[in-house]
Symmetry: C2
Subunit: 424 residues, 2 copies
Amino acid sequence: MNYRSMSRSEQMEELQKQQANLEVLKAKGLKLDMSRGKPGKAQLDLVSDILTVLTDPADCIVDGTDVRNYGILAGLPAAKALFADVLGCKPEECFIGGTASLTLMYDTIAKAYTHGLLHSEKPWCKLDKVKFLCPAPGYDRHFKITESFGFELITVEMTPDGPDMDQVEELVKDPEVKGIWCVPKYSNPDGIIYSEETIRRFAHLKPAAPDFVLMWDNAYCVHEFDGDYVPFPDIISLCREAGNPDMVFEYASTSKITFPGAGISVMAASEANQKYMQKLLGIQMISYDKVNQLRHVKYLKNKEGTIAVMKKHAGVLGPKFKMVLDTLEREIAPLGIAEWQKPKGGYFVSVNTMDGIAKRTLALCKEAGVVMTSAGATFPYGKDPRDRNIRVAPSLPPVSELEQAMEVFCVSMKIAALEKLLTE
Amino acid sequence: MNYRSMSRSEQMEELQKQQANLEVLKAKGLKLDMSRGKPGKAQLDLVSDILTVLTDPADCIVDGTDVRNYGILAGLPAAKALFADVLGCKPEECFIGGTASLTLMYDTIAKAYTHGLLHSEKPWCKLDKVKFLCPAPGYDRHFKITESFGFELITVEMTPDGPDMDQVEELVKDPEVKGIWCVPKYSNPDGIIYSEETIRRFAHLKPAAPDFVLMWDNAYCVHEFDGDYVPFPDIISLCREAGNPDMVFEYASTSKITFPGAGISVMAASEANQKYMQKLLGIQMISYDKVNQLRHVKYLKNKEGTIAVMKKHAGVLGPKFKMVLDTLEREIAPLGIAEWQKPKGGYFVSVNTMDGIAKRTLALCKEAGVVMTSAGATFPYGKDPRDRNIRVAPSLPPVSELEQAMEVFCVSMKIAALEKLLTE
């Protein structure tokens, strides 16, 4: 029954019931972590054959290059071809990075700050003010990067089709607005796939700043956990066709395909951007790990091989997400105290509670030994203006633990909601 | 016979003879590369067992950490212990990086520029002027990093004991002087080991800038190719004892121990510096490749194991350096047209010709198909004021090719010297 339809005494009674439930759960002494989108051990075991695909020194020489030695700043041609196949762009538009695409994103923003981007009039550190658009809820590590350089973060609303493009188109008329963070497929945390129209409008943006940058983090480009692979358009071609060839930088990695602690990553961009950025990147490095690049090429082979590996992950992740979504549907949906998307890929379920109870919900979870991503983390400066968004990350715990964690989560949310309703 | 003691006609005759020699060499159509300190294939093969030390997924879990997964920004404790053993510092003073210590050095300077160092009053990008000391001849990639941020590079003379400390102590009285590049053991390119006194004076520096940084690139810390391992002091302890605990950042890597294209690296610094830097580094990365860190721990084990691997490299490198030094001694020493150190470690032989003939020598080499590091590269802005320093990198070519390359080099230098003498 919807909590709002209850009488005050019914609400009081229900609160006492749920408080008793929580005490029972607390007594179990749980210690469960659902704070980050971290693959579980079963997933790591599934892909551990990558440890043995490259053991013969003779295999280290590819197209005349000894991957064991110095050289090839932008990465192994075969690794570029692999990512180009997955992303739908050209191999020469790819720069291969190390374990984290986050580092490549940071580098892009850092270079903009210290040296400027290809079309910058001056380095951003020489400007009085830089503003950056942050569709929220979004990825806390994105926001942190731009926050760390002192930019002003501007929140853009998320819709079921992606960022609110009316708002974006209006905001980019300000020449101090220098860029935007995007996760176009299975957005972090909502799991939304940007609509064709949203993506088209992004490609056709007419920002006032000549060096406006579309930070296109395609982190979950092949990360379906339910159903078949969903194709996506090549943003680099779309921007080129729209007359914005150098506006976009796209990122991806194998972090949730092979090993999160030992994968490879890519920064894809126009050849003009690559030329400009590689001149700067060449001062800071010789090349990322080419032996590991070759391991990934041998293990994943191409887009088809990559999607086949992702099917295996889906076998582990699918049941976890189903459990989370089923539990929410059963325990929370009838109460009218929260809403959520039902993603078919990505790593999160993003729950929007009634206003003002996200922090309290997570504090109660913590008392019962369940750690979730901090409330507010999905907003610029870690501040959720409506205190309602909670990111659930079901990937790390085994299903048995996840069940207990979700029980704690639902009971906590019920208590927080009732407390709130009773003070209104 | 010393060229300067020759009569003009003897010089003319000798020039014609050497020009004829060069024509014979040109006719061979050589294509030899001695431009960079790149290990040769035989060295890579010697250490290729590292490809097979970690193939069992069960071995990936160390001290409760699954190295395949996200986490541990500063690196695997076992990898910190390995580098601490090699460098003589504490494990908690180590931050483990990826394939290139160059990237860690760049990050230090970049963070100083964008955010400031621990004791900075403001980020260096907010200062009117930053000056940086560059002992020369030195490492071109060091100089490039500080040049790329627009710092003014100030040349410091090298002596057989290391940088001229009288000059250094005088220059650091200028608060705009923010740091210095050092390669304390087998300096690049001279192969000089800084004397105890030089190192003591560095530790006791009293720079005017509170955030002066000693960039201590211990790139060749275990890189003897002739004779036994030579111990070196722990610069971090020395600076601490001298009351400069946070002045130094030390760097090293396995680039010339295991694979240059796939090694691990370290940034060592006081715990206060680590705390400050890791807060900034945590925004740009999750962690470097922990699987590869574990591979290195299993393969190298500790300092003793590392030195044992270096002995194997010495077996390949030693004869190459002997050949270079013997050839110079036989062909050039009697002529009085150049001088050089006789290093027992490192990756280079640094030849100082008579003034004004380095460029011409290398141009002649190039005509005969031998590429060397560009003349001037070992000086700030790529400009050798006396046009005399040439860095010889004998590691990459097999001995047979090296012999031909050295023949070309000596003949070219003779011609350049004679041309010069004849115009005086």
